[in-house]
């Protein structure tokens, strides 16, 4: 963990995950970007619109026997809707994401050492093989970041654009390729049930 004073307000800002490059200062809502040498302020984050999500920064849970904590969130929108991506740090230092879309929960992990196919070669229905399993492209959509909170391994700034390709694999597994221009990333994961993730420190929801 790295602790550093916010260049804007001087409050102590923690970078809990070594993968984090972005942080919204919890005291003054400044957007901070971490480089090798220092932390830089890149603007102010407007407050995200409220939503009925049961999660918050600091919510903890378990996925396949491994404990995680939610460190950050980014809200993503596309033409037909929106979803939340919660940034997870596991106790063993691994990073992951908890996707929350239309009432479904997805846990995924970034995959390195994989030759990501060119976006132009993919269309709905086309198949790619990842780790010896077949994945079919379900849809390809343009995604815009609405903003973020907490710390993130990607810049959670409003207006960041990327192309997101969703793929379905065997059983409840899925893959996602994020074509962001500066660095394309592959994520592998699966759908998960609310109960199995054994959350604690959930957000209080009025009336629920």
């Amino acid at each position: 963990m790295i602790q550093t004073p916010c260049p804007s307000c001087g409050g102590n800002v923690d970078f809990k995950s070594r993968f984090s490059v972005f942080q919204v200062c919890p005291y003054c809502t400044s957007m901070l970007v971490r480089t090798d040498m220092n932390v830089e302020m890149v603007g102010k984050m407007a407050q995200l619109a409220a939503d009925m999500s049961p999660f918050q920064l600091g919510t903890t849970g378990r996925f396949e026997k491994r404990h995680f904590e939610i460190l950050g969130k980014q809200k993503l929108v596309y033409s037909e809707g929106n979803w939340n991506e919660w940034y997870l740090m596991f106790d063993d230092g691994r990073e992951g994401w908890l996707g929350e879309a239309q009432g479904f929960l997805m846990v995924s992990f970034p995959v390195k050492n994989f030759m990501i196919p060119d976006l132009g070669t993919l269309s709905a229905g086309s198949m790619i093989e990842i780790h010896k399993e077949s994945y079919h492209v379900e849809d390809i959509k343009s995604v815009t970041c609405e903003g973020g909170v907490g710390e993130l391994p990607v810049p959670g700034v409003k207006g960041r654009r990327s192309t997101s390709v969703d793929l379905v694999g065997p059983a409840k597994s899925f893959a996602n390729i994020d074509y962001a221009g500066h660095g394309d990333r592959l994520y592998l994961g699966r759908y998960a049930e609310f109960e199995e993730l054994q959350f604690s420190n959930l957000r209080e929801l009025d009336g629920w």
């Binding site: 307000c9 939503d51 009925m52 809707g81 239309q102 479904f104 709905a124 909170v149 379905v168 957000r203």
Partner: protein, 443 residues
């Protein structure tokens, strides 16, 4: 810069989220938004405006029809528990198949568990879960789908068109939007796929007893239940399964008893003796002085209680022989009565030889104790002179009892099977893919 702040002022934990109420731009009526941040549109109950729920502007996108074709029996905002989870009804829609049928679907929301649907069709209710696990459909020319290790049979292919909406939805619901649907059924579930140009959405609909739904959501006026639903569990089936198990158990037991009784039966012939009948011909039976007071020689029946089989054999030439007798225990004097007869007729008529009758008849006496016995009998016949033979065997395996018991044992299972088939035929009556329909039927 040591003025360190201790309390973050900007945190996701701070703003409490609750349902939002705003006024419809179309008619001014208050509209409640419950799944804040998840719903894409919400529909004003007052004027049917479909409103963009993604921004605080709440702009009207399109219009719904003002009234539905069916009765909405659960009001928006009603909460009820299904399978232990509390759900809130946040949307209601009606769809039709483009031909005759309309049905209702209630959207259920729980911030932790997401969404479910409660579908009502002909007064039959289903609890619907959208599933992300894609079933395999490349079986039997699309007549089967495999999901979670189970096979589902194709029941229906058609379309579903949205005709009425109120409340809120997690997609941009629009009146007139159409999907292609395919329903596969198995036991109490419908595995359905809805296909749009963009995606295939699979769902599993589990049958719910109407009474459970009524209690869960405290519904005053339940829609009338008509017919049999595709995912309605057969009420006879569980009983049938039990009966079938019992039937198999008892049949095996019966077969084993029969098998062992045949194995252990010694079927000993204890007597074989020839006699000759002498009497007066052409006198009616009963009044004819029978050949009286005859007895067989003494024979022994072993130690155990067994059955005794008495066989009469004779070949009357166009006539009959009747024997009335008793098997007598020579020690105790106990007697077992029996009677039996043989007859044989033959002739030549119109160029054909014919014959009928039996030259052998059998009497079975059950449970005769061991000891020394003899048979006392009198014979009658329409012949003055006729030879016959009496033979006695003990411990003879019998099939009749076994077969009768088996038939009796099978009556109830067969009845249950018939009731189950009748139910399944009704269930499949609405399907174009019924395994009970003949192939030459008109479509």
């Amino acid at each position: 810069m040591d003025g360190k702040l201790n309390t973050p002022v900007f945190s996701e934990a701070l703003p409490k989220v609750k349902a939002k109420v705003f006024n419809c731009k179309g008619c001014g009526a208050p509209v409640t938004l419950r799944a804040v941040g998840l719903s894409q549109v919400c529909v004003c109950a007052g004027c049917g405006s479909i409103i963009d729920a993604k921004t605080e502007e709440f702009e009207i996108i399109s219009k719904s029809t003002k009234k539905g074709h069916r009765l909405q029996v659960i009001a928006l905002g009603t909460r009820g528990k299904i399978h232990g989870t509390l759900w809130e009804v946040i949307g209601y829609m009606e769809r039709w198949d483009g031909r005759v049928f309309y049905w209702s679907e209630y959207l259920l929301f729980n911030p932790m568990k997401g969404f479910r649907w409660l579908a009502e069709n002909n007064g039959h209710w289903s609890y619907v879960l959208i599933t992300k696990e894609k079933p395999e459909t490349n079986y039997a020319y699309g007549q089967l789908a495999k999901y979670s290790g189970h096979l589902y049979k194709l029941y229906h292919k058609g379309t579903a068109e949205l005709v009425y909406v109120v409340g809120e939805f997690y997609w941009k619901a629009k009146i007139g939007e159409q999907v292609k649907v395919k329903d596969f059924i198995r036991e109490n579930e419908i595995l359905a796929v809805e296909e749009t140009e963009k995606e295939m959405i699979w769902s599993v609909a589990e049958y719910l007893e109407a009474e459970r739904v009524r209690q869960a959501f405290k519904i005053d006026h339940m829609p009338l239940q008509v017919g049999v639903a595709p995912n309605q569990p057969c009420p006879v089936s569980p009983v049938y399964q039990q009966v079938l198990k019992l039937w198999i158990f008892f049949s095996i037991a019966l077969i084993m008893v029969q098998f062992f009784s045949m194995l252990s039966s010694s079927s000993n012939q204890v007597l074989k003796q020839d006699f000759s009948h002498t009497g007066t011909a052409s006198v009616p039976l009963g009044s004819l002085p029978p050949d009286q007071g005859k007895s067989t020689q003494t024979f022994e029946l072993g130690d155990e209680i067994t059955n005794v089989q008495i066989t009469l054999y004779s070949k009357p030439d166009n006539g009959w022989l009747y024997l009335q007798g008793e098997l007598v225990n020579l020690e105790s004097g106990e007697a077992y009565e029996f009677d039996q007869g043989v007859e044989a007729y033959s002739g030549y008529e119109d160029g054909y030889y014919w014959s009928e009758g039996n030259v052998q008849s059998i009497s079975n006496l059950p449970a005769v104790p061991g000891g020394n016995y003899q048979i006392n009998f009198e014979s009658s016949s329409d012949k003055e002179q006729l030879d016959f033979r009496i033979s006695v065997a003990r411990d003879v395996p019998l099939w009749e009892t076994f077969i009768w018991l088996l038939v009796l044992l099978s009556l109830f299972p067969v009845f249950m099977y018939w009731r189950r088939s009748t139910f399944n035929m009704k269930k499949w009556a609405e399907s174009d893919y019924s395994p009970y329909a003949s192939n030459d039927e008109d479509y």
